[in-house]
Symmetry: C2
Subunit: 281 residues, 2 copies
């Protein structure tokens, strides 16, 4: 029997992948979680039927949500991840030896449990083995309200702005994040596809600009995400991701990155015209 999983990126287009088996399928208090074994992309996690991560291309997303902020900030010691229950973002943060503590605040404990069980290459640093990592199964908004002025960097590793993550795209939330950051803090959040989600981007970047003095968009190629062109919002109190970037420090990193590098860091902020236009004032 040939089994194919198709994710529609709109009513009229989608990606389709051959699947050998279902490793887990169940419903948490928040969402439907499925983990499938695909032939092309390895294991793949879906939330409410949408591809979150696959073993083959997760390196792009996790490199790019993490390293631009951690190489722009001159000395990040305390980092918070909101969402990101698969653990891939924490794994990348842990490669930065100057980070003393990384906190994962994921609303859905089932995502963490099943990632530890079935996605070990991503969850290797959230399985309890690393004393520099703390886990909180909690609502991200409630958590940051209780931790003001604490973090150097906050990474919002969320799902799309429908369902549990809806509130993570609103101005009120960004004000709360701003308050939870130190005076020179940086927030990065995934910000959808410039090709398919122009309207979401316009609203999101408008909201961010009401709160942060520095707001820039950067891009990455993620084959299993709609259109393959994905984006991240870099919102910062003090450091600019291009002007304040220390290319030599990034170049001298003591770990290998399959997507990120010190030149790509700069190139990622050089956007196609249509993407720039999505977020113009």
């Amino acid at each position: 029997m040939d089994m194919w999983y198709t994710e529609k990126h709109s009513e009229n287009v989608g990606i389709t992948m051959k699947v050998s088996r279902t490793l887990f399928s169940g419903k948490s208090d928040f969402q439907q979680l499925d983990i499938l074994e695909t032939l092309e992309y390895g294991r793949m996690m879906l939330l409410d039927g949408l591809v979150m991560v696959t073993e083959r291309d997760e390196f792009v997303y996790h490199d790019m949500i993490t390293h631009p902020a951690l190489f722009t900030h001159p000395d990040p010691k305390k980092v918070l991840v909101i969402g990101g229950g698969d653990g891939g973002t924490i794994r990348e943060i842990m490669k930065h030896k100057n980070v003393e503590l990384a906190v994962l605040c994921e609303i859905d404990g089932l995502v963490i449990d099943k990632s530890i069980e079935l996605l070990p290459s991503m969850s290797c640093e959230i399985d309890g083995s690393n004393p520099r990592v703390k886990l909180h199964v909690d609502d991200g908004i409630a958590y940051i309200k209780a931790h003001q002025g604490e973090f150097d960097i906050i990474l919002v590793d969320s799902t799309d702005p429908i369902g549990p993550a809806e509130g993570l795209f609103e101005e009120d939330f960004y004000r709360t994040v701003f308050a939870a950051l130190k005076d020179d803090g940086i927030m990065v959040a995934q910000s959808e596809s410039p090709f398919y989600h122009a309207e979401i981007q316009k609203n999101m970047y408008g909201n961010l600009r009401s709160v942060f003095p520095i707001v820039e968009m950067y891009q990455a190629f993620i084959p299993t995400y709609p259109s393959g062109l994905w984006s991240f919002a870099f919102a910062s109190k003090k450091y600019h991701p291009v002007r304040d970037f220390d290319r030599e420090r990034a170049r001298g990193r003591d770990f290998h990155t399959r997507y990120y590098n010190e030149d790509l860091h700069l190139g990622a902020f050089m956007l196609p015209t249509f993407a720039r236009e999505n977020i113009e004032g």
Copy 2:
């Protein structure tokens, strides 16, 4: 009835698009040609079942095969396109007023005829209306052998290295192109997906480096191509696409480009690590 077209990018993954009707389906002497009306991407041209262009995302490919070379060369007057029978590359070249003559050499006359009939937004400059454009329905290799030292720029707008375009990825062909270029000439060729076609890239860039003193890869996002991450080879006798690029001239262009811009020109050459590694000596 719901009709979907699925292109497999490998045995195990593909893109699927809803189709409202078939506008043309037929076989030329060289290949199968289909033009479909899709709901998400507008009209779409397939050769031997592979997506060549769609109305919605062709601007990316045509901007990026054309403008990096035409804004690196200080004064391109004579440009040759091999392949590219849809006309989109010629349309972009014509935006450069300093170009005196653009020659299209396409092996398959049916592609030209059907593009003129069914894809007018791309073929608008190859329909006989522009005296700066000449068409040759001919084998590209034979054509350039007969035109030595003539061109400032040659753009190889080919299909994949299987079928009619196979010879366009070989060292012998690049030697012929080298000879058809003037002493400061530039060649650009589409060079497949760094994500799926590492082996093809390794061979192709190895072949190019045996012939040209300057060989660089650059990238673009093309949603309907395998993985969404596509690449182009910039092979040059004299001008380097980054070091010799006149950002101010590109910035001062008198036409709008939805993908290309003077910053993206530079960013396109800042590659993900895995893509760099594909073509390392």
